[in-house]
Amino acid sequence: MDMNDIDAAVTVRVNGLRRQFDSKEGKVIALDGVDMQVRKGEVFGVLGPNGAGKTTMIRILSTLLLPSSGKAEVMGFDVGKEPEKIRAVINMASGAERAGYDFITARGNLWFFSQLYGIPSEEAHKRINELSKMLGLQNYLDRKFYALSTGYKQRVTLVRAFINDPKVVFLDEPTIGLDVMTALSIREYILKQAKDHGRTILLATHNMAEVDAICNRVAIIDKGKILACDTPAALKRTLGASSLVLDVSPVPTLGALEPLGKLDGVKGYTSSIDEERGLSRIQVVVEGDAAGQSVVEAIRKMGMTVMSNWRQQATLEEVFVALVGRGFREREHETS
């Protein structure tokens, strides 16, 4: 049975969702007919490069933005017609936000946010303590907000996102710019919130490792369209092929690799730079060994030396490469 067809306990339902913005350069389509369903207790990832439409989707679902057309429902309530009903059962947080009142303590800020939901003070303080403990924030609760480091401000933001015992939580790049250990503890916290409390968590991110680590399902989004939606493992399986990884020198410019995409049997490629070793790592999704051989030859013809190459299990980024023909880096470069 297709996981997307399961209707029971659907908490977020999106049909033909479209949103365009007027800009100086003309109309920009941020979402272009998105269909999606998210179930209760699920950590659902929306994975895509910057500018793919992830934040727009979260802003629509969290009632901050109206769709241009199409339908979006949260807990059965329409985002356009029943925003007040949605607001009572959701919360949201963004990694880009460090929202809080500087001269108030972390605890004071969290208590204030709890009051926006009408939570009795005693109950609010209990929740603040419980949630803070999970994130290792308890010893910093009595510090003024301005005195907290970026990582602890983000922890405050994530406690806030769950302060009202929400049924659905929208998180937009919640670990962006954080160190690895902080990011790991935040992921663990998010997972626990979904597992132990049956909350639906919709996580917009461009971090593949994050999706792999905590998402039950993931929708891959590019240029406002959902290209695929399934569990991370199933998506990688559908690729049906391992990918070819090459370390090459010197580092090519972004445009220099374009001929690779035109080779027979090549579904797409992406590259990254290993600055420490002065190498470029190229990942190519290929069908069959012959295509792999022609990739190696093409790279040599471009004047680069292949230092090493090997096959590896497909990653989510390679799923994206196979679907789009480019990686996140190339996609962001194209749209910048």
């Binding site: 880009a96 929202a99 800020n109 204030f112 009051q115 926006l116 009202n164």
Partner: protein
């Protein structure tokens, strides 16, 4: 129904607490906030004393008190949502079930409570240094003061919705508004009535600003012994009450309009797409 279980009151109280706590949590704020209003009123008091009507030096001290509140309305009410928008707080308000009017009312009451110590210090210092002549009718003074603050902060609420349309330029608009409004409203001198240097048309226009009527009524009740029953005082009290109600209504409508517009155009948050 218990009052503390009312979500509107909870939100208003929480916002009041945040505003007042921010100020009382840093006592130095009071000392800093008193600076500019006190020194300005000191200078104008010296002008009254040096060049003539020394017995009305109290006008300038009263001006120092009221300019503290006007500064608070402008910098911490009118542009607050704009600032909240820049740091991501406004979208938290909107995406929560909280009433925006409760947030505004809490912000106003917190602003009044937070500004009161520095305003009181301006009055006390001015009184101690200059001993201005007063002839107060206290019930009228208190009523006028309360209504003036109510309508002034209602004006702040209305401005806060207008300011949502601005970006970083809000600070420049504040700077531009601060002095002209205190001039037209006659914070340091009577801008309406027999003492005013302004032509009638300017006085009529100035009377549309709550601060103008409030200042005039405060001067009359505090220095000239006028109280309830005086036609001008009664009229000014009624006008202040009407202005407060109209501005409250206008701010609530404007905020709703701007929230709907913001949801349509995507301008509730600073971040896009």
């Amino acid at each position: 129904m218990k009052l503390h279980s009312n979500p509107w009151l909870r939100t208003a109280y929480a916002r009041l607490w945040v505003r007042a706590k921010s100020i009382y949590g840093e006592p130095l704020w009071v000392a800093i906030n008193i600076g500019f209003p006190f020194f300005t009123s000191f200078s104008f008091t010296m002008v009254y004393r040096a060049y003539g009507l020394g017995s009305y030096a109290g006008f300038a001290i009263l001006g120092g008190v009221m300019i503290s509140f006007w500064g608070n309305v402008l910098w911490s009410m009118a542009s607050q949502f704009n600032w909240d928008k820049q740091v991501g707080l406004f979208e938290i308000y909107i995406s929560s079930p909280a009433s925006i009017s409760a947030i505004l009312v809490g912000m106003s009451l917190g602003g009044i409570l937070g500004t009161a110590p520095s305003a009181a210090l301006v009055a006390l210092l001015g009184w101690a240094i200059f001993h201005p002549a007063v002839n107060p009718v206290w019930p009228a003074v208190i009523s006028v003061f309360a209504l003036t603050l109510a309508s002034l902060y209602a004006m702040g609420m209305a401005l806060s919705s207008l300011y949502l349309a601005y970006g970083r330029e809000a600070d420049s608009v504040n700077e531009a508004l601060h002095e002209p409004v205190s001039l037209i409203s006659g914070v340091y001198f009577p801008s309406t009535g027999g003492f005013s240097p302004f032509p009638l048309a300017v006085q009529a226009g100035a009377s549309l600003i709550p601060l103008t009527l409030g200042m005039d009524a405060l001067r009359r009740t505090l220095f000239f012994g006028q109280g309830f029953g005086e036609p001008t005082i009664d009229l000014e009290l009624v006008a202040l009450a009407i202005m407060g109600i109209v501005l409250l209504f206008a701010s609530s409508k404007a905020l709703k309009f701007l929230e709907d517009k913001g949801r349509r155009t995507g301008t509730i948050a600073v971040r896009q797409r």
